[in-house]
Structure formats: C-alpha cells, structure tokens
Symmetry: C2
Subunit: 372 residues, 2 copies
C-alpha cells in the first residue's frame, strides 16, 4: 500500500489515461496536417478541432474559442466581462481557483448556497430582488467541484429565467459533464438558452490534464472580444496539442477514453461511499453520479484543520472545506477519488477515520469515549 | 510561381520544419515519460525541459520558467514589473506586438532610435540623465524584429552599465539568437551581467511556432513572482508540447534543425539582398547576419501605404514600417524572408519593384520618368 494516499488533487491516475491512444493521435496528426500543426495558427485555436467542438454543440465555429486549458478560458472571460467592483455570483462552496481568480480582479464575489440539486435559486432570486446586479453567475452544473452535486433540470430553467429577467450572464463551467457514471444526462444551459450563457469545458478530464486544451462556447460577439485578448496574450494556443486532441476525438479514442474513465470513477466513488459509511459514519455526504469529487460534512465543531494535520501524519491528503468558501467551511472537506485506486481508497478512509477518532477525542473530552 | 508571395509573416516555411523529428520526439516522449507529460505538472513548466534550458544558460532550474510561447512570457513579465504609467524604453522600430502589449498596460513607452549596431546608447543615456527613470528597457539584441540589426558587443556592456547606474531592468528578448548564419555570436547580456537582466527566448524559430514553447531566465526572485502569475493564469503550461521539445532537444534533432534553418535563411537573405540591389536600387538596407527580417528604407516621401496596396494588387505582402513605431516610419517596410523560397523571393522583389515604380511615378509626376 502506498505510503501517501492523496484525496487532494482533482486529477486522474495514469492508469485511466489512454497514453497509447495519445501516442497514436500524435503520430497521425504529424502525418495528416504537418503544416497546420507546426505553424502559428491563430488565437481561435486549431481550426479542425474548433469545427469539431462547434459541431458537438450545434453552433457555428465562430462561437468557439479553443484555449490552453479551460482555466485560461476562465481568465479571458473574466478579463472580458468583469471590472473591479463588479458583482459576480458563485456557488458556496466553489472551485478555489475561480474564487482566487475573481478576487485577484477585485470582483465583488457573492456566494449563494449550493444544495444537493444545485445552487439555491430561491436565495439567488431574493438577492437579485434586493438589488444585487451581478455581471456574471459562475455555475458548475455537473458533479460540481468541490461538492460533486448536480444542478437539477428545473433549476437550470429557473437560472436561465433569472439571467434574462435580471440581465446577467451565466458562466456554465462544465469540465465534468461527460463523466456521468450514474443516472441520465441533463441538457446544458447553453443548449436551453444560449443567448445568456457562456459555456466552458475542457479535455483535461476526458483526454488528460497535461494536454492543456479547454474551450469556450458563446455568442459570436463575446467570443470575438475574448479572441482579441487571447491574441495579445499568446498569439495562438498550442497547435501541436490541439491537433493531437483533434485526432484523438475523430479516431474514436475519445469515446473509448470516456468509457474507461467513467468505469473507473464509478467503482472509485462506490468504494469511497461504502468505506465512509462503514468506517466513518459521522461523515455526511451525497453519493455523486459523476465527476471526481465528494464533499464531506463532519459533525459541527469538528476542527478540519486539525483533522488535516492528523491525516497528513498518517499519509493522507485532502482539501479543507474552508478553501472553497469566503468564510466558514471549518467542519467540511473535499475528497477527490479520481487519482486513487479502490484499494487506496479503502486504506485511505481507514486512516482518515483513525485521524478523525484522534481529533474527535481531543475535541470532546467530556464524552468519555473515542469517536469513529 | 505562387499567386501570393508573403514577406509579411515572421514564420518559417514548412520545408525547414523537421516534422519527422517532431513526430519521433512525440513518440519517444509518450514512451519515456507518460506520467510526467499527461499530468497537470506545475506552472514552472515540464521539469526535464526546464533543467535542460537551465543547463544551457548555466543557471539553476529555479531561474527558469517555461511558458506557452515567449509572447506569454513577455506578458507575464510585463504584468509582474510594469504598472500603468511606468516608463519602458523600447527600440525604434520594435516588434509591433510588444508595443501593443505595453500600450494595453498603459505603460509610458519611450522609443530610442535603433542603429545598425543596436539601440543608440548615447541617446538613451541622455534621456536617462534628463530624468527619465524607466522600469524596463526592452531590447531584441540579435537580428532584431523588425530591423534585422544586431547589438554590438560594446553596446551590450554599455547597456549593462546604464542599467546598473540608473536602476532599471534589461528585458533581453532573444528569439533569434541561435539563427546567426554569418559572423560570430556575441555573448548574451544575461551572461555578462545577469543581475539586471531578464532573458527570454523561444523554440518557435528553432523547432516550430505551433509548438508554443518559450521561456524566461532571470533572478530566482523575479521568476518566482512570475510563476505565481502563471499558476493563476493556466495552472501549468502545455506538458505534452514541452515534453516533445525536450525529446527533440536531447536527441540532437534541435542542433540539426538549427543547421537546416540557418542554411535556408542564409540563402534566402542573400537572394533578397541581391534582388533588392538589382531590381529596387532605391531600397536602403543592412544585410542581416541572421534571423528572419530585413528592414527597407525607401526614399523620403515614398508613401508605403500606397506601396502596400500596389504590392497587394500584385500578390505581394509585407508589413508597413509605421506598425513598428509610435509615429513616423511612413517610407519604411519590413520584409520577412523566413517563409519564402529563393524563387519566390526573386519574383516577389520583381513585383515589389513594379509596385514601387507605380507609386513613385504617382508621387513625383514632375520627374517625368518612371522610377525603379
């Protein structure tokens, strides 16, 4: 068993990356379009990949910008739409890098509670009626990072109505959408009402992170503005990587890779849920239907910072809940099951439960008995 | 003969890109380090490539940041060092994208005349003594874009002295340094006095532009600051592309590629100079010793905007001199010979001379005879 077991990083283990498929895609790309992939290209991205993505989303290629990873796409979108002081609604909790990126831009970040079926739309409506006028609402609709929750169909429609009524843009940040391993897929908000939505996704979770290919889909006018920012940032994104992704997609390797990833994630998520239920019954969580993450609430008063240290001493890493909120989150944590095997998961939860027992004993000396 | 002959884009023609070497490097990279190249990595870049670059420059790896192209490196450096209103010295003329990038950041851009042996150091000194206190001086030391000129050894030392005396940083922007096809290489300013220099280069001209791999070398403290900006912009740069470049470098393909590129550029530059001398004797230029570009001054009063249109009607493209300066440049132009074959160069200059004759006749109706 590994000395270190990391539930911290939202990244796949190497065994679910199709390295041989990538090698073959590179080979094929260098043979079929050497001119296109070795030249500068333009900021819109490698045109065949852009056209392929456009077709997947049923839009014109002019509505697509392919970037060096979707984080870069987010940064461009924020640069284009968010001025210092502008209000941006985000989910509570939300992706820590998004929070950081918005705060770096001096945005006025308003967190709205995330429920197991997605952002609390009624609470958002109250905030809007009370006069908050956001420029943007950042929503991770599927298997949210960090919570693993999915926005319901009804709430997707409600959010679109609010965006139209109150004049803000929905930033539908969807890197995990293709990784549903249980239940039925829901339509993207972009497909339901594209005029108020900018959609982002990535090949990091379906091909591999190191390939750094993400993209935006939106109205032509917004995409054109962002393309100008991209041109001045880097002339053009990585043509070699994007040509490899294109070959990976059109050869059918992508669909096979997604099946491999989903099978592994299904097993890992199930193992994690079972291990938590058995070994750490104090953990409250919603079993995820896809994606990489599971959010754990521990009993109020649990000091997750101490749990973090106690787990680290046992070789187990996770991310503290407080990293995903502006305040609070002290008794919550995020477990990523994407990079750990079922065996590691069982052992990791065992150590985590042991760490919890230590922390819980110290927190409640009056209770007299060890917890967990 | 091609209908369109472009002297506009500073990019190599496909015949001098080692596509087969790149394909082999990709194959080799996927076999030798699948884990390293498919995972996220960190913002410093693919570590084996970073270490290779550090060794080339005789520095510690912590002094190197590998980015998605050197344009992105420039942008990070400006973000780290240049605040709105800060003075930045640039050469006149200079790379149009650098000018744009600095103006977007509301820098106070001061152009100092570029002479055939590099920036007019005496003029710069006068400006400094008069009280201008730049944060940064942006210098393209070798085969400058757009002029093709090279900074002399003496001026390199003088610039370093000025930087030390007046407390500014030299940004040594050197994508063409390895492409010297005549004469002796000169030491980089970074190697002569690294403490006041941040050095940038790229594999765009020695491997291919579509691979988008550039880098910065500087003091550890500056590199650490810029690494933070890179992390929040894109988590990590393209690991797949950087691993391919690393294999290309360590296999020896890089050195072979540089020889191929230099041989082609030598012939293209010579052909261009000979054709200009023969067919457009009004053109004043300095024969380049390396790189991609040749700067042409036409007789004062020549309207290069009209020449541009007249050339375009004949299927010839170039970039107008005025794009590389804040004001002036109306009778100058930049010819890139990197993307055109010798045959195309001869035919292109023939058409350009023909366009010049049309414009010159219209400009000087009193002269009575066609020019050129």
């Amino acid at each position: 068993m590994a000395a270190q077991i990391s539930f911290a990083r939202g990244a796949p283990s190497l065994d679910i990356v199709d390295v041989e498929g990538l090698r073959a895609a590179a080979e094929s790309a260098f043979r079929s379009d050497p001119a296109g992939m070795t030249a500068y290209g333009t900021a819109v991205g490698y045109r065949p990949l852009r056209a392929w993505i456009a077709e997947q989303h049923g839009v014109a290629p002019e509505q697509v910008l392919v970037t060096n990873g979707s984080m870069q796409a987010d940064a461009f979108l924020f640069d284009a739409l968010v001025r210092p002081g502008d209000t941006v609604v985000v989910e509570r909790p939300t992706y820590d890098r998004t929070l950081k990126s918005l705060r770096q831009r001096d945005a006025d970040v308003r967190m709205v509670e995330l429920e197991p079926d997605g952002i609390d739309v009624a609470a958002l409506e109250r905030v809007l009626i009370a006069g908050t006028a956001p420029k943007l609402a950042h929503i991770i609709p599927n298997f949210q990072n960090p919570a693993g929750y999915t926005l319901s169909a009804a709430k997707r429609e409600q959010l679109l109505s609010l965006a139209r009524a109150f004049g803000f843009t929905i930033f539908e940040d969807d890197p995990y959408g293709r990784l549903r391993f249980e239940g039925e897929s829901l339509p993207t908000m972009f497909s339901l009402g594209g005029d108020v939505v900018v959609y982002a996704s990535s090949f990091s979770k379906t091909v591999c992170p190191g390939i750094r290919v993400g993209y935006l889909v939106g109205a032509e006018e917004v995409i054109a503005r962002i393309t100008k920012l991209a041109t001045s940032a880097y002339i053009s994104p990585n043509m070699v990587a994007q040509a490899i992704v294109f070959e990976f997609c059109r050869s059918g390797a992508l669909e096979r890779s997604i099946e491999t990833v989903k099978d592994a994630l299904r097993e890992r998520a199930r193992t994690l849920c079972e291990a938590l239920t058995e070994l750490l019954p104090e953990a409250r969580f919603v079993a995820p239907q896809g994606g990489y993450f599971l959010w754990v609430d521990l009993p109020r008063g649990t000091d997750v910072t101490r749990l973090f240290d106690a787990a680290a001493r046992r070789g187990v890493q996770f991310v503290k809940g407080e990293d995903f909120v502006l305040e609070g989150g002290e008794s919550s944590l995020r477990l990523a099951y994407s990079g750990v095997t079922p065996d590691e998961i069982e052992e990791g939860v065992r150590r985590l439960a042991d760490a919890y027992a230590e922390v819980a004993v110290m927190a409640e000396p009056a209770a007299g008995a060890p917890a967990g």
